[in-house]
């Protein structure tokens, strides 16, 4: 491909005190790709997302997004450039009804800038977006307080809040965790639709079966280091990955 990558991470490192959370991580991501980020617990997946989105400052290394160096930028500035994320532990506004949760991302300067100020009633846009992620229209659920919504809906809400920002790159941190098979099956088409719209996605996931079905490429982390990268099947065959996951000599 003759194009420059959408996201380029080079030599990224982060240590918390004596713990090396991420060590010399480098990878590239092309526009429209879906990259799966996997690895055992504590391998640094969420830290990697936190570094890219600015929630944690890297100790070393560079992050380039659309040719712009975003290393160490404040999270809100990174969002305005077009990177949105979801949190593993969902972070809704519990005091507000589900659809009012959407008002806050819709109030973002990013949305104003893209859609030019007035684009109609935010409440209506919010309900449309929630319908896209599977909140049934004309049902009561979108009007319910986020504090009483079941986990499945909270995850969808988390996704909708990211989509509302019209991002070019979406980072999904364990979107499927805590969901039933049926709920996952309900969300997969939403992700596939995002890809058809040309969005680039990084997914952290423990549900490998579901992930491999949609990922173009996977990257495996262990103790903060990249131990494999490539097609899902090849990667899982590799000795280093087997050892990391199963703990046994392969």
């Amino acid at each position: 491909m003759g194009f420059s990558p959408l996201l380029k991470v080079s030599g990224l490192s982060k240590n918390f005190g004596g713990v090396q959370a991420i060590a010399d991580l480098s990878f590239e991501l092309m526009k429209g790709e879906l990259l799966g980020l996997i690895g055992p617990n504590g391998s640094g997946k969420t830290t990697a997302v936190n570094l890219i989105t600015g929630f944690v400052r890297p100790s070393k290394g560079d992050i380039n997004f659309q040719g712009k160096n975003i290393t160490g930028m404040a999270p809100y500035k990174i969002v305005r450039l077009g990177i949105a994320r979801t949190f593993q532990m969902v972070k809704p506004f519990y005091q507000l009804p589900a659809y009012k949760n959407m008002i806050i991302p819709l109030y973002s300067p990013r949305v104003k800038q893209l859609l030019g100020g007035k684009y109609g009633d935010r409440d209506a846009v919010a309900l449309d977006l929630l319908e896209e992620v599977g909140f049934e229209r004309d049902a009561f659920v979108a009007y319910k307080s986020a504090s009483v919504l079941p986990q499945g809906y909270l995850k969808r809400l988390e996704l909708a809040k990211a989509i509302a920002l019209q991002p070019d790159l979406i980072l999904l941190d364990e979107l499927f965790s805590g969901l039933s098979l049926a709920e996952v099956a309900g969300i997969v088409p939403i992700i596939e639709k995002l890809r058809q719209e040309g969005k680039t996605i990084i997914m952290i996931e423990h549900r490998l079966k579901e992930l491999f079905r949609i990922a173009d490429r996977v990257l495996v982390l262990n103790y903060g280091e990249k131990i494999a990268e490539g097609q899902a099947r090849e990667v899982m065959e590799s000795d280093a990955v087997k050892k990391a996951y199963l703990g046994a000599e392969a």
């Binding site: 404040a74 809704p92 506004f93 109030y107 973002s108 809040k161």
Partner: protein
Amino acid sequence: MEKRKERIDRGIKARSGDVFALSSWREMLYLAAPRLIPIIGFLVLPLILGVYWQKVLLSVAGFALLAISWDILAQTGMISLGQALFFGMGAYASGVINYYLGWHPLIAIPLASVIGGLICTAFLLPVLRLRGIYFSMVTLIIPLMLVRIVEATKILGGTEGLSGIAALPSRWIELYLIMGVLTAALFGFRRMLGSDYGLVLKGISDNDRSVMNAGINIYWFKTQALFMSSCIGAFAGAFLTHVYMFVGMPVFALDYSILPIAAAVVGGPGTLAGATLGAFILVPLSELLRGIGGLRIVFYGLFLVIFIVALPEGLFHYVQRKFHQFERWVEVE
């Protein structure tokens, strides 16, 4: 047989919530009454009260403004224990403008509200990143420090304060100025908090990282809320300085920090109306208890405790619920 309480929105509440479908005067009144009662009350109260209670009303309105100011900050996730900072800064600003420059109170008060607001915002700007109790502690300490600075350096009249500050032209201007500002602040800021902008502020108190994650600079929004809040508090201070015709160290007293919080808690935080209602209960109560002398604080404290235990949601939320919903006991199936 076990029973539970069922709460159902009144039909009119549902019909007037979003789309207005009103069909009678009675329904119009249902919507208008909650707004008309305070407005008419604010207009009529000065006329029917005696001179002594008119003075109390000025102080009630001052505390109501401080409570509104506290509530706006609390809505944005900043729990202030130092409303006295805002009050005192406005009081000193207006006092200084009038005492040293000789400017008319009607110019000094608005000017002092803005200047006081700016100074308070500048004071608290470095600690906006602190959350929860850490922010509260700093707000508690700053007014206490300022008192000691005034005392030690003897600036601005030192312990004596500045007396002989010009009063407002007349009792009626005093009364209607503060009632007007209170009405404007109450309804204006209620409207603001109900808007999408207000949702962002509430979002910060609910989950600030999530707001950040929406590409919103939360420190800029917190600064705005802080400025609005401190301007209201500074106005209350500036205004009462010209009523008492004196400004001195007592303007940084703990009363001005604690009473607004008590008012907001008794009235129901999060609505501004609750904060106002709380001030209208607590300040006159404190006046009424003056007659019993030393035990005043005991009875006052007892009242607060009983109120908070019996109605933890606050009076306004309770009344609001009764107004919008009817309740009945139904058998549990």
